[in-house]
Amino acid sequence: MRRYGAVIKILFFCLGVGLLWPAGAPADDFAALRRDAARIRTISADFVQQKHMKILSRPLVSEGRFYFAAPDSIRWEYNKPLKSIVLSSGGNTRRYFFSGGKIIEDTAGGAQAMGLVLAEVAAWMKGEFDANPSFAASVKEGADTVVTMKPAEKNMAGMIEKIEITLSRKEPAIKTVRIVENASTETRINFSNMVINQPVNPSLFQEVP
């Protein structure tokens, strides 16, 4: 379970970094990043996730919505193909899935692992991205900014190869997160309709659906 938690930690780390990376900031200036991140109070965005695996002839597409409210509230909601929701707020994390029209709380332990992860995400929300020793990050400037992160921990070998975050330089939004697990397995998440610092109903972080 520890390794699974570590993998999920990486997943949410890159999402946290990506969603909060301000456009136009000097890519290697983490102090500026921390200053800009401190101004973010809420985020909501749609996402489309494509899972590529050797076993699939075409990507498995998932869709959903992401919400964040400072300091540490997150709602990560998949609408299809498997309807599920992760809620995290005040150190309490729960995961739900839908079955036969009913909402069922996931009791397999994944929520606990994600609780540890999301507690760290709260730190990342403060812009403390360079404080995490689990990653070695590099930045490539171009039409967009691409941040590439490679796990520094040996126990990640064979599980996550790299994470690429593509950031728009024109507007304060992330475009894509790409998590490469190995040569044939990767997850690509495209964000759209991102809204920053608009009111988000607090009940979204407490209740399902």
Binding site: V7, K51, M53, I55, S57, P81, A108, G110
Partner: protein
């Protein structure tokens, strides 16, 4: 709570248990000579939402991908979380089992072997040529495939359902699978129950199925999304 769990365990254990005696046909009537055959005839890929319930009160949901090649009797499968994280990948051929990814708690050889056996039971036809045909106590026609370590019963049910049960040599029920016929075939809704104290129940709902295409992986240049 303990009482509920005990009752659930008993229900799991008994739900598929009763009536494995069959009355054999002396001479099978013509219309009963064909045994149920829900199995794919060509290389096929199935993607299911899988709801898992197991002891003591574990409830979770995963996405499962299964690739079947009936010609070579090979199986590839992957399990991933709703968030898309692959937690298990393995393939099996008559030559053996190869696990390419297994994150805890799914990292035991036993889990992989049992999972492959379950998939084989659901998606590949029995290999036994020792087949008996008859009726169950409830009157349903059944085909019984004998093997060295037990037998497997296949019987039709209401609404085109197919019920597959695997028994060990002593008569103990090991697995009970129900395939519900739907517009997309017999794999639209699958129920699998493994009875016993540490039993589990899987409810699988088809998300997508794909026929043979020869291409297993989409090259990078053909992928959708932003580049």
């Amino acid at each position: 709570m303990k009482r509920v769990l005990l009752m659930l365990t008993v229900v799991l254990a008994l739900s598929c248990q009763a009536g494995h005696e069959i009355k054999l046909f002396d001479r099978p009537p013509a219309e009963s000579s064909a045994c149920p055959c829900p199995y794919p005839q060509t290389k096929s890929r199935f993607i299911h939402a899988i709801e898992v319930r197991s002891f003591p009160d574990v409830k979770t949901a995963l996405i499962g991908v299964t690739l079947i090649d009936p010609a070579s009797r090979s199986i590839s499968c992957a399990l991933m979380s709703a968030e898309g994280m692959a937690v298990f990948e393995a393939s099996a051929t008559p030559a053996g089992l190869e696990i390419s990814r297994a994150l805890p708690p799914l990292d035991s050889q036993n889990f992989a072997r049992n999972m492959m056996d379950d998939i084989e039971m659901i998606f590949l036809p029995p290999q036994s040529t020792d087949i008996q045909k008859g009726t169950l106590a409830d009157g349903r026609r059944v085909c019984r495939y004998q093997s060295n370590d037990g037998w497997l019963d296949m019987a039709g049910g209401e609404g085109g359902k197919i019920e597959i049960k695997r028994y060990e040599k002593g008569g103990g029920l090991k697995r009970c699978v129900t395939l519900a016929a739907g517009a997309s075939g017999h794999y639209e809704a699958i129920e699998l129950a493994a009875p016993g104290i540490f039993g589990y129940r899987l409810t699988m709902t088809l998300i997508d199925s794909q026929g043979p295409d020869g291409e297993l992986f989409v090259p990078d240049e053909n992928r959708g999304g932003d580049k």
